[in-house]
Symmetry: C2
Subunit: 239 residues, 2 copies
């Protein structure tokens, strides 16, 4: 990369190159072990120039989180919006785009996913903001489904937010599984998740509810014999 | 706690008291900011004695993770086993016990949940082992359901592991939601999650599969008009 040293680049292009380099180094070393010298070397720029452009090591890390979280949220949103009007299609397309993002951009994902909220206030705030943005994106999609379902359901924004947490948490944990099963395509990952979650969500949007099987009396108490699988369909009334 | 200083206690009781104190301090301060002096003070014991019992600050943290992860896995397992034979009842009871654990033992949960795998090798290894133990517990429960479903399904241990990741990830993320909605009981948290997930899982165990709606052609490509919600039931054949 030493020929880069002599190039003159517009500030925003240079900044993006520094962020690219920082992502690689943070992803490989982790936040604590990463050193700005290596980032500067990889970006083909001097260390003082790195500081001039993006401030401290913490500033570099915040810039990485911000850019990659924005890209991830945009990837999800664009795919969902392009996929049509039904919540089912939007969710399917959005999740597939998410898994594709994670498998194509492993460096970004490691930085977003494997860092503690404990690294200092600026970083914690940025990670929290990133997570909130993703939750809002997914929650908005779920709320769209609830609105479309109309009076069939009594669900509100709190329910949408709950569902968003469950979906994002599941997708998040599944990226670890995907890493250990490199043969699984983003599309296949999503089909598996839709099988688990969409069918239940569709029923809930239709006003159905699941209730604990008869005989399930609470945590730790012995329930009398089998009941579950042979049970009748869930009632059509909301709680 | 100064009267504790003079008590003579068996080693294992003393160790548990030190771990109790360490949990509180790690939970309140985070790993990096926590100091052993405060843990010793809270446990009513001298700092050299803390080191003698449980080694370094890292050793203390590893002991906290190990004990609390064991307790959490046991809580899930015992509740599931006591709940009867059906996968539905076991999952419902196990998840309820999990949410109850998290709301009753906030200190433990903060230490298990809000720490990066980046804190050093011993801690990363312990957190990974804890996560694996939980995944195995949940995966075993899902595999039990698959085995019970018999020839209706072509699912195997890899599928069970996928489902375990989705469930654990969802439950994990939902603890944040629960913290912001203190009025929600563990039971209510679980009923919401069962509504989202169990219905789909039950169908999959019965050999049904969800397929992308007609007209959904992939990520980012425009799909032709609506298709999703009015779609016919999913086919009864496995992929």
């Amino acid at each position: 990369m030493s020929d880069k040293r002599r190039r003159r680049l517009p500030r925003d292009v240079r900044e993006q190159e520094i962020i690219d380099a920082a992502l690689q180094v943070f992803s490989k070393r982790g936040y604590h072990a990463a050193v700005v010298d290596e980032i500067a070397e990889l970006a083909g720029i001097s260390k003082p120039m790195v500081y001039l452009y993006l401030g401290s090591k913490e500033g570099l890390f915040v810039s990485c989180i911000r850019r990659e979280a924005d890209r991830m949220a945009a990837t999800f949103r664009d795919a969902a919006q392009a996929a049509g009007d039904s919540p089912e299609q939007r969710l399917y397309a959005g999740l597939t785009a998410f898994f594709a993002f994670v498998s194509e951009r492993r460096d970004s994902w490691r930085v977003l996913h494997r860092q503690a909220p404990e690294q200092g206030e600026a970083i914690a705030a940025e990670l929290a903001a990133a997570r909130r943005a993703v939750m809002e994106e997914v929650g908005g999609l779920v709320m769209h489904g609830i609105t479309e379902a109309g009076s069939a359901t009594h669900l509100d924004e709190q329910d949408a937010d709950y569902v968003a947490h469950a979906l994002v948490g599941a997708a998040d944990a599944l990226t670890d599984w995907m890493e250990r099963h490199p043969g699984e395509s983003p599309d296949r990952m999503t089909q598996r998740l839709m099988n688990m979650m969409w069918v239940g969500m569709r029923n809930v949007l239709g006003g159905e509810i699941w209730l604990p099987p008869a005989g399930t009396v609470g945590v730790g108490k012995k329930a009398p014999a089998k009941a579950g699988r042979a049970r009748a369909a869930v009632p059509k009334t909301a709680p």
